[in-house]
């Protein structure tokens, strides 16, 4: 595949992510922050996000597994996940966290479990998508091309 084609594919792919709501405008903000001194900024930040999220998800799973669930702690974790996901633009993860928090407040165990599943699902989805995206970018760069800037109007 030649560079132009790869670039187009990348654009299409990225656009679809936005359309589906997997990513939101914040992601574009991140992309705009990348510059010569930090060309891999987005990848770097997203990697941090993945690491942190996985830790949080583990903590959440553990917390909900307790006989006496500490909802405050659960809420704190979810809040943090909400913050970080919103910071990178992982919109669906963020929305799932919002719902999760509501149930935490109500201390609805069943619903919390469901929410956790939902959050995990969204998380793995966005992780997968972003990894694909990054791979595509890598291929373009490897082929000597440049990453086109996304211009989405939201």
């Amino acid at each position: 595949m030649e560079v132009g084609q790869m670039q187009r594919r990348l654009m299409e792919y990225t656009k679809s992510l936005f359309m589906e709501g997997v990513l939101d405008n914040q992601f574009i903000q991140l992309q705009q922050l990348a510059d010569e001194s930090n060309p891999d900024f987005v990848v770097e930040v997203v990697s941090l996000f993945f690491e942190d999220s996985e830790r949080l998800l583990n903590d959440l799973t553990r917390a909900l597994d307790q006989p006496n669930i500490d909802f405050k702690m659960v809420d704190a974790h979810v809040h943090q996940l909400k913050g970080s996901s919103s910071s990178i633009g992982a919109q669906r993860v963020k929305n799932a966290c919002i719902a999760f928090r509501n149930f935490c407040e109500e201390q609805n165990i069943e619903a919390c479990f469901r929410c956790l599943q939902q959050v995990k699902q969204e998380y793995y989805l966005v992780k997968n998508k972003l990894e694909t995206l990054f791979k595509m970018e890598q291929q373009i760069v490897a082929a000597g091309g440049s990453i086109p800037m996304m211009e989405l109007s939201f």
Partner: protein, 681 residues
């Protein structure tokens, strides 16, 4: 982001280190967030804005960095929810210790949390995800704060108008760099000019505004302590302080504020003390009206038995005695009013006082002018108490007092009221906040509080007003504001019902009696007044202190109180006039107050608080001008009449004046006038 307009002027003018000609580029930001993703993003964004960024993922580490490098940062951005320490606590600490502007951030955008930020003194609150646009303008907070600081510094006792030299290219300096020297100069000049203007406008007193810096206040407090709060008369204090350029009137008004402050602190206990006074009865009714502050103040004064304190707090806070869950949201709202004002004005982080619900807020609102440092002291004390339950002491003698106060407060916390996180944080705040507002009022508050301490046991609480010396280092800067505000209202010595009056700590002592309930925070003095009433002599001290330090007005406790209050109120533009009219005044104020805030009636402590704050702030401004002239306040009149409404309105009126640091306009320099009139009353 480069504002650098005038490099040359900057470089030439600045003798200090020039950070950059291109302010705000080079602004040194410390970012604290436990979320690594956000931290990295923020760092990148800030770098893109050409700021110098230091990252930190733990609050403790951040504090260490700040402490280790006092002038190493210009602004701090912190997340609210962090595992090791609550972001608000960090906020308070930073405000107290380093007096840097702090911006809070969170993914949580619920109103009460934002309100908390405001009340705790955050200069801004950003919602995550943070966009770079939001970060570009954070430099304004640094500038604003510096400006306020300069203003305050200018007003320190030794700074006379003559000291203000024209600064070269003020504008240029101002915009051109983050160079403190330059900027400060320019700001200072501007401030000076403004001050001068303001002063001139104040026909009442053409004194250069005295800025009660932390150091100055410390000197003041130690002088007062040395003399003994009861015996601390302006003249002697002045002698002890030995600060060139400081006048007896300055001291007098500051003392008044300090006393109010003390009262307020004890006022908290007052509420409790009302309990005290009327022995532990669970008079939470009146208490409820008390602002949390009062209670706390009372508690703080240490005199208040923990229980009482707790109850008071409960009362203050949630009006219900042991209501752990204070209706913070309410308070928050209220605080919103008051605090916002405060914050803006003072630019300090004080506020946290939301705890007591309104009451606290009131305090906060009031002392906007308080020196940040002074506040810091308070905060420290407060903080430690509330949050940490640590012995506060740190700030010198005064702190000990405050510590005691704070400690007291903490006790209640244990009770359960304070346990509430919010409250906890807040509780401590109270003192601070109280202090703050009070501080600004300066002495009055302090004094007030102090008295409480001594008196708490007594029930009168105020008697000791004079002594409590250092209650909290009140940054008396804008002494005028608080005292004025608080005074007038507080002075309802007439209220006599200890309980009722006590509760009102705030300006509106009357509240207790009158509707003002809510305003408790404002005028702790009021409470004191009530107490005073009981102990006439004492009241006087308090009251007089502020107002008329000229003479040892102790004799007139009531008078003094009344004077203060009414006059203050009156001045405020209320025209509260004649004490007889106090009622009306009070009502007016009250109305104003209420109108200010939610228009809730007195019953709403919260509103009151807020209003009060606003008022105080405003009032202070106004009071100055008007001051005493009106004071023909008949001592007795206060109590009810003033009601917060009057105050409020007075305050409100003042608002346009730009509340700002109430410099001593309010001071009771004019107190002499007051006194005379008051006394005659």
């Amino acid at each position: 982001m480069n504002l650098g307009n005038d490099r040359e002027s900057m470089s030439t003018a600045s003798s200090s280190v020039v950070v950059s000609d291109q302010f705000p580029a080079g602004l040194r930001v410390l970012v604290v967030d436990d979320d690594p993703t956000c931290l990295r993003i923020l760092e990148k964004m800030l770098r893109t804005c050409l700021y110098e960024v230091t990252k930190c993922n733990r609050a403790e580490a951040a504090l260490n960095l700040l402490r280790g490098n006092k002038n190493g940062y210009d602004i701090v951005i912190s997340d609210v929810h962090m595992p090791d320490i609550d972001g608000f606590k960090l906020l308070e600490q930073v405000g107290l210790e380093m007096d840097l502007p702090v911006i809070m951030m969170s993914a949580d955008d619920s109103k009460h949390v934002v309100m908390k930020g405001v009340t705790h003194g955050a200069c801004d609150y950003l919602i995550k995800p943070v966009r770079i646009e939001a970060l570009r303008n954070i430099w304004q907070h640094v500038v604003r704060k510096r400006k306020n600081e300069w203003k305050e510094l200018e007003q320190s006792g030794s700074v006379e108008e003559g000291d203000r030299q024209p600064k070269p290219s003020e504008e240029a300096d101002y915009s051109s760099s983050a160079n403190e020297g330059n900027w400060r100069n320019s700001k200072r000049r501007k401030d000076e000019e403004e001050d001068v203007e303001e002063r001139d406008d104040t026909s009442t007193l053409k004194k250069p505004r005295v800025v009660w810096s932390v150091e100055l206040h410390q000197q003041f407090v130690s002088a007062v302590n040395q003399l003994g709060i009861d015996k601390a008369v302006p003249k002697k204090i002045l002698e002890l302080m030995n600060v060139p350029g400081l006048t007896r009137e300055n001291v007098a008004s500051h003392l008044q504020k300090y006393r109010l402050y003390l009262r307020r602190l004890s006022g908290v206990s007052q509420h409790q003390s009302t309990a005290f006074i009327s022995p532990q009865e669970p008079p939470y009714g009146p208490l409820s009206s008390l602002n949390g502050l009062d209670i706390q103040a009372l508690a703080a004064t240490g005199q208040i038995p923990a229980q009482s304190l707790a109850t008071l707090q409960a009362a203050g806070l949630g009006r219900s005695t042991a209501k752990p869950g204070l209706p913070m949201p309410l308070v928050d709202q209220r605080n919103l009013f008051s605090f916002d004002n405060q914050k803006i004005r003072f630019g300090e982080a004080q506020p946290q006082h939301m705890n007591s619900g309104k009451q606290m807020n009131l305090l906060h609102g009031i002392p906007t002018t308080m020196e940040p440092k002074q506040l810091v002291n308070l905060h420290h004390s407060a903080q430690s108490l509330g949050g940490l339950n640590m012995p506060v002491s740190a700030h010198g003698g005064q702190s000990s007092q405050s510590s005691s106060l704070l400690i007291q407060m903490t006790q209640p916390q244990a009770r359960g009221q304070i346990l509430n996180e919010n409250t906890v944080g807040q509780v401590p705040r109270l003192p601070t906040s109280m202090g703050q507002p009070i501080l600004s009022n300066g002495v009055a508050s302090g004094i007030l509080v102090r008295n409480r301490i001594g008196e708490n046991g007594r029930g009168t609480g105020y008697n000791s007003v004079s002594q409590t010396s250092s209650m909290l280092n009140f940054p008396l800067n804008p002494p005028a504001e608080l005292p004025g505000n608080s005074f007038p209202l507080g002075s309802t010595p007439g209220i006599s019902s200890g309980t009722s009056t006590l509760t009102n700590k705030g300006v509106f002592q009357q509240e207790v009696n009158s509707d003002i309930k809510g305003s408790g925070a404002f005028m702790p003095s009021y409470d004191i007044f009530n107490d005073l009433q009981q102990h006439k002599p004492q009241n006087w001290e308090l009251q007089n202190v502020g107002l008329t330090f000229d003479a040892s007005q102790h004799s007139n406790t009531l008078q003094g109180n009344v004077d203060v209050a009414p006059s203050v109120l009156v001045n405020q533009g209320y025209s509260s006039s004649q004490r007889s009219g106090q009622n009306s005044n009070a009502s007016e104020l009250g109305k104003a107050m209420f109108s200010v805030g939610e228009g809730s009636e007195h019953g709403n402590p919260q509103n009151v608080g807020q209003h009060l704050n606003n008022f105080l702030v405003d009032n202070s401004m106004r009071v100055k001008a008007e001051r005493v002239s009106d004071t023909s306040c008949p001592p007795t009149v206060f109590p009810q009449h003033f009601g917060q409404e009057d105050l409020m309105s007075a305050l409100l009126k003042q608002q346009p004046d730009g509340i700002g640091p109430a410099e001593n306009e309010f001071e009771f320099d004019g107190s002499s006038r007051l006194t005379s009139s008051a006394i005659s009353g």
